[in-house]
């Protein structure tokens, strides 16, 4: 149990409160013409998350602050935001990771509605445009289709996507070009292109080959850095590119 004791001591240090300084970019369409900054000071434990910092502001200082959140542990994809210049989920980043001086802004590339809440509709429209569903016309009968563990592993990484938008909204091409479907949509296309059960590979690759598709990607790697699920996004995009070039069948 020695490691447990060491762990417990490390945990104690995480319980000492520190002062956290937040600068949050605010915008309320009811009253504002353009966004402005507001500052808040809150006391938190280093083990608290950025989401907790925002809740503390909302619940004890200023109830007008708006941000989306639900699960509070990185599985629902509600709270992608820019924290100190980088896209992250508020709920999986601890104060001890990001520091006690925080600059928080909405993600870029989607229209801001209020404070940290952006319009996700364009993002979901891009997602829908890649036919994000299994297509297989064969009648499998009353039993499961078979898939080997190797075939299943082929697309495992891209099944992890939670559609938070952190990748797409970190991509310079996505900011500049509203035609580009963006990394998240490509990740979801990849998930089906490399699923041995799917029969619409050719159609999907055709979509990916269009002007709005994979060729817009300039391999900036921002998306891979931003992904809270650790999906190798750039690699997935490259795999789709290679599939278009070498094995479109």
């Amino acid at each position: 149990m020695e490691t447990a004791e060491a762990g417990a001591q490390a945990q104690d240090a995480m319980m000492q409160e520190v002062e956290v300084h937040l600068r949050i970019k605010r915008f309320d369409p009811d009253v504002d013409k353009r966004p402005h900054w507001e500052e808040y000071f809150v006391k938190l434990k280093p083990s608290d998350t950025v989401l907790t910092a925002l809740h503390t502001v909302k619940w004890t200082i200023d109830g007008t602050l708006s941000f989306r959140r639900s699960c509070a542990h990185g599985v629902c994809g509600s709270d992608a935001m820019m924290i100190n210049g980088v896209n992250r989920l508020g709920c999986v980043n601890l104060i001890s990771d990001v520091g006690t001086s925080l600059v928080i802004e909405p993600v870029r590339g989607l229209p801001v509605i209020k404070d940290l809440v952006v319009d996700m509709e364009p993002f979901f429209a891009q997602y829908r445009s890649v036919m994000p569903y299994l297509i297989n016309a064969d009648d499998p009968g009353y039993t499961e289709r078979r898939q080997s563990p190797e075939d299943r592993a082929r697309f495992d990484d891209t099944t992890k996507c939670i559609l938070c938008g952190a990748c797409s909204t970190s991509c310079p091409v996505y900011w500049a070009n509203d035609q580009y479907v963006g990394p998240a949509a490509i990740v979801n296309a990849h998930r089906f292109i490399f699923d041995s059960r799917d029969q619409a590979r050719a159609e999907r690759l055709e979509i990916m080959n269009q002007k709005s598709g994979v060729w817009r990607c300039r391999t900036a790697f921002n998306c891979t850095d931003a992904c809270p699920r650790g999906i190798k996004v750039t690699e997935a995009i490259e795999e789709v590119k290679r599939a278009i070039l070498y094995d479109r069948s």
Partner: protein
């Protein structure tokens, strides 16, 4: 600090829509129902979250079905385990339906594209889970179908993908605050809902022949919870306010392994893979409590065992208030392959490495066995005789069929949402085809509008977040894993005071766009009402059964209490209790030993 934004009271826009079917909630249950009605009739799915944000996505471990892909298994064995796990409060007709249709439900999901983990020969792989056994309790059985430790995520994504494929009409970020009926007494039938559009603050009246509620759980009545912030029981609470009873609300499951202090869940799959619980002395205490299945005993037993270890001074840590989940003896590759997500949670939130460090855990509020009473077709029943209220349906965690009785077995909820989501959707489709459109008055949204205006206009001195925290603490302390008459009375006193203070709340945000200050205020009202039904049921039930443990009545009392509780709201706001019999079947009550 807080800037004024204009109070737009008096100027609420109200929109009117007409549909054949409305589904409230787009988690697993709501979307599974939508797949049954989409394309067949005009359907609206109304959801306060984007569908893929629903908490079904947080489910980790698996979904049980007796596929016998890796071991001999029969749906009857599954049914036996479920009946026994329910502490004989589950209705056996409904349990039979669920366990028999489990196989189809899994196969359906596979056909929809769900990427299950596979066996070497390409079949859906299966693993062990608490309370699931071969041949009526002989030994643990591999029955849980899974996709790594993100089974719920894959179910939610797959169902959403299916909905996109079939063009389901979603109203995202619309929060339902009221239900509409037409007619009185025996002629009463469902007629629609009233929803609040978060992006604009406008109200929407949806007139509809059929209404299916699938709004999920209400774990946020407790302080330590595995449930999302948004799981506030809106559906059951608004129906309760309109005179629909709620069933078995005193049965609330605490999952044994929540991350200490924050409640984030570490799946039972971790023990299915061989993880062990240890107290502060390093002892494997489950050996004493459940000699046969040990760490894989059902949740109520394991949570109580942890509670007892802590109470008797054998907890770990500076305050001796937690125990350990120990995975350190498992091969590191197995942890990486089978439990990647939960390992990530432990690293992120505790800064510990599960391959080398035991993990501090405590029981966490997890699952509502109780809810809106339904029959096996998802039809809402409003009395002990099983009278159906036409046009009204419920499925998923907000409903009570009852297949989980006094204690749900792990993996049976992902199953429940799929089996009864499908059944509810189908039955609603049949019903809708045979009736005409209800008429809904111009003033249908009046009550919701008035409530919103009143909250926005109030200058009261109470704050929503503070009241909610007090409620959650009181419920955790006095009405969670172990209860007594005295603790429940304490909680009731706190609740009565909080209700009084709730009348005096005010909010900062008076605006119309994404006003979560307002929606949280209304959600708190739901939590308070549901806590009231929970406490009333728990106080009356002078026995211990499943998740409801009374230290002052520590035995199950089948002679007096093998019955379901129905809680009704009286006009003065108090709770009246009635009871209805449990549907028996093949399995007679016996002592629950594992």
């Amino acid at each position: 600090m807080v800037r004024e934004n204009p109070c737009k009271t008096g100027a609420v826009n109200i929109h009117y829509h007409s549909y054949d079917a409305v589904i409230v909630g787009a988690g697993g249950a709501g979307m599974r129902a939508a797949i049954e009605t989409a394309g067949k009739m005009r359907t609206a799915v109304i959801t306060k979250l984007y569908p893929t944000r629903s908490h079904t996505g947080a489910a980790q471990g698996g979904m049980c079905a007796a596929l016998s892909n890796v071991e001999e298994d029969y749906w009857e064995w599954h049914a036996f385990d479920t009946v026994k796990g329910s502490d004989y409060l589950g209705d056996q007709d409904a349990i039979d339906v669920m366990c028999r249709e489990a196989i189809d439900a899994v196969v359906d999901l596979e056909h929809f594209g769900l990427p299950f983990s596979r066996t070497p020969d390409g079949k859906i792989d299966q693993r062990r889970f608490g309370g699931h056994t071969r041949n009526h309790g002989e030994a643990p059985v591999r029955r849980a179908c899974y996709a790594a430790d993100r089974t719920g995520h894959m179910i939610l994504q797959t169902l959403y993908q299916r909905c996109v494929a079939s063009g389901v009409n979603f109203f995202n970020e619309f929060q339902v605050f009221d239900v509409l009926f037409e007619g009185e007494g025996e002629d009463r039938r469902a007629a629609g809902v009233v929803a609040y559009e978060m992006a604009t603050g406008d109200l929407h009246v949806f007139a509809s022949k059929g209404v299916l509620f699938a709004t999920g759980g209400f774990g946020r009545i407790f302080q330590i919870s595995s449930n999302a912030h948004t799981l506030t029981g809106d559906g059951p609470a608004l129906l309760f306010a309109r005179g629909i009873p709620l069933e078995d609300m005193e049965f609330y499951q605490f999952h044994p392994t929540g991350i200490y202090g924050i409640g984030i869940l570490l799946t039972e799959g971790a023990r299915g893979e061989g993880g062990i619980l240890r107290n502060g002395l390093g002892e494997r205490f489950m050996e004493r409590v459940a000699p046969t299945v040990k760490d894989l005993a059902p949740r109520d037993m394991v949570s109580r065992a942890i509670h007892a270890e802590i109470r008797e001074g054998r907890g770990a840590g500076p305050n001796k208030d937690y125990v350990y989940l120990d995975l350190t003896h498992l091969p590191p590759e197995q942890i990486d392959a089978k439990l990647p997500d939960i390992s990530g949670f432990v690293r992120t939130y505790l800064g510990l490495e599960p391959k080398t460090d035991p993990i501090p855990i405590q029981p966490t509020a997890h699952y509502a066995m109780g809810g809106i009473p339904t029959n096996v077709n998802g039809e809402v029943v409003i009395d002990s005789a099983g009278t159906v209220l036409p046009g009204l349906y419920a499925a998923g965690e907000c409903a009570c069929v009852s297949v989980h009785g006094a204690n749900r077995l792990g993996t049976n909820s992902l199953l429940d949402i799929n089996v009864f989501g499908r059944r509810g959707g189908r039955r609603m489709a049949e019903y809708v085809a045979g009736v005409d459109h209800p008429s809904v008055g111009k003033e249908a949204a009046g009550d919701v509008r008035d409530r919103i205006e009143q909250i926005k206009a109030s200058n009261g001195k109470e704050k929503v977040a503070a009241l909610r925290a007090e409620l959650q603490q009181a419920m955790m302390r006095d009405a969670s894993v172990v209860r007594t008459a005295e603790s429940l009375e304490n909680a009731s006193r706190v609740l009565a005071e909080l209700r009084e203070r709730y009348r005096d709340i005010s909010i900062d945000d008076k605006g119309s766009v994404f006003n979560f200050d307002l929606t949280e205020a209304i959600e708190l009202g739901s939590l308070l009402d549901l806590a009231g039904t929970l406490l009333a049921g728990a106080m009356a039930r002078n026995e211990s059964r499943g998740a409801h443990w009374r230290d002052d009545y520590p035995v199950r009392d089948d002679a007096n209490w093998m019955k379901h509780t129905l809680a009704y709201r009286e006009p003065d706001g108090t709770v009246r209790l009635e009871y209805k019999p449990v549907v028996g079947g093949r399995y007679q009550p016996m002592e629950r030993k594992y």
